[in-house]
Amino acid sequence: MKKYIIKRILAVIPILLVVSVVIFSLVHLTPGDPAVAILGSDATQEDILALREAMGLNDPIPVQYVNWIVDVFHGDLGNSVVSNAPVASVLKGHFLPTINLAAFAMIISLFVSLPLGMVAARKRGKLTDQIVSVIALCGISVPSFLLGLGLMMLFSVKFRIFPVSGYAPWSAGAIEHIRSLTLPAIALGFMYAALMMRMTRASMLEVLGSDYIKMAKAKGVKEGALIGIHAFKNALVSILTVIGQSIIGALSGAAVVETVFGIPGLGSLIVSSIGRRDYEVIQGIVLLIAFINVFINLITDIAYSFVDPRIRVQ
């Protein structure tokens, strides 16, 4: 196991190298530069030109890349081109809101999707199943930003149940924190809930038709335990895959939802950083997301082996 994990972590390096090259080239191929973001829209042309020179934006790109990647391997993500704050601290500041949002979205979608998916599988072809299927289809068909706008209009503006926007950290109190994240989490989580619902239903159906379920039934296992324990644990492997993918999706899909709800997370940071051409920050975020992505895949793979003893990590 230990060996496997080390091997997997080492395998991350080429992926991150690819990611770093891709994102570095993308970022530096992007027209425009950070000078205007720093100086503001009314800056004079002379000041802009002077700043550009001073920032060393005129170094050859490969040199800039090597400098950057060497620093990264030393654990230094550099400083924001625009605000000069260390990228690590900028990321740290924006990381928690996104993680909280994604986690909240995942919790909501898990609590909704797993039971519904199981019920739908149990009542295959019946009204309940069809309703669940339609909900799931809507989930994967309604873009999260549309849902977000709709929820905001309804629950924040009309009924005033939730704040319209903004983010209350844990320090502002648990209730405020949850209130500020509820709507964005629903908007973000709905799609993943739908995906998980579909996957739960499909894999539960597959499992429910299996011999060991018949066997368990013949043993006298009660309906609840049959579905909740026997079937579910077997279906979990494929559900775990979707959960892993959803967490990654939620982290990156947060970009749009965060912008709609004004949550200062990684997503809105990358959107605004692109607008400002804050190279180092964009690179930092993408590296971080890629790393989380790879990390979650690793966790999922390890989780498989806990759920299904037939899958051995090696």
């Binding site: 368990a216 039934k217 013949a218 043993k219 009660k222 759920v307 003893p309 037939r310």
Partner: protein, 331 residues
């Protein structure tokens, strides 16, 4: 004769399908006594498994299956009791061994868990105690080093071992009736014999009734006392095991027996096969269901359905030709 454990009276099971209700078994009646092994034989698709699963009411009654007739478990009709009560019967009074142990054992739970679960559903015992009992059960079914095995997962065991585990699960609560649905099909020949021996041995040891479902007449000959032959959802013949082999009354039974390969006799002679295949449930003929494949069939066989008529104290047969002729002269 000893007491009857289970008695099927005119049992039918139909499935709801897109084409309407399809009868998978039709008017099946037989009984099993304490300490007895009843063989149920027939080709695949003849309704053996449906019969056994109907006894346990394993089909979804709301959406899939409709039962008719009676299943009397020690005198009580278990088709009439509330569905929930079946959970107390399954595993405790009737249990079942399935064909393919690999797919019938839950791959994500340990062997021990699956046995313990069967025990603890029906008996109030602590986990520790259940574990002890599980280990006992494993040694009962002849698994060496059971303490180690309880911690293992099904995929870590050999095929024979798995089948033994399944038997252990089935017998965990000392049921009155064990239904063994082709318990050896998936196994090597030597293992087959071991498993069959085990079932016979446990049958005597625990004094329970056994319904052995199989398509292998050889197995039947060695283990069963009585045999029911099924074809297309109906019983076509019922007899003591000696009568079945020495004096088969139904052409289908005869065909089955003739198709057993034998060590003695002409090796070059082509093995007998019953021509044609079992028709689909949706295409059940109106007359005798076997008529189309029967070498002796006459006009009447195609239009009228024969009844299952006793021909002796222990033997019943469903065939016009036999009844007419006072016995077909089988060549």
């Amino acid at each position: 004769m000893s007491e009857k454990i289970i008695e099927l009276q005119n049992l039918s099971t139909s499935f709801r399908t897109e084409r309407g209700l399809l009868k998978a078994i039709d008017g099946v009646s037989f009984d099993v006594h304490k300490g007895e092994i009843l063989g149920v034989v027939g080709e695949s698709g003849c309704g053996k498994s449906v019969t056994s699963q109907t006894i346990l009411r394993l089909y979804d009654e709301k959406y899939t299956a409709v039962y008719e007739g009676k299943v009397l478990l020690e005198g009580e009709d278990i088709l009439q009791i509330p569905y929930k009560k079946m959970q107390d019967i399954r595993g405790r009074r009737i249990s079942m061994v399935f064909q393919d142990a690999l797919s019938s054992l839950n791959p994500v739970f340990t062997v021990g868990y699956q046995i313990r679960e069967a025990i603890r559903i029906h008996q109030k015992v602590s986990k520790k105690q259940a574990n002890k009992m599980a280990i006992e059960m494993l040694s009962l079914v002849g698994i060496p080093a059971p303490e180690r095995r309880v911690k293992q997962y099904p995929h870590e065991l050999s095929g024979g071992m798995r089948q033994r585990v399944m038997i252990a699960i089935s017998l965990a609560c000392k049921p009155r009736l064990l239904i063994a649905d082709e318990p050896t099909t998936a196994l090597d020949v030597t293992i087959q014999a071991q498993i069959m021996d085990l079932i016979v041995q446990l049958n005597q040891q625990l004094d329970m009734g056994v319904i052995l479902i199989t398509h292998d007449l050889g197995v039947v000959a060695e283990t069963c006392s009585r045999v029911v032959v099924m074809y297309l959802g109906q019983i076509v013949e019922e007899a003591n095991v000696e009568d079945i082999f020495d004096n088969p009354k139904h052409p289908y039974t005869l065909g089955l027996i003739q198709s057993i390969p034998r060590l003695e006799g002409d090796r070059n002679k082509e093995l007998y096969t019953i021509k044609g295949t079992v028709p689909l449930l949706s295409q059940i003929p109106t007359g005798c269901r076997f008529a189309k494949r029967c070498p002796y069939a006459k006009e009447r066989c195609n239009t009228q359905m024969p009844d299952l008529i006793p021909v002796s104290e222990t033997q019943k047969v469903r065939c016009f030709r036999y009844l007419e002729g006072g016995g077909i002269r089988y060549a």
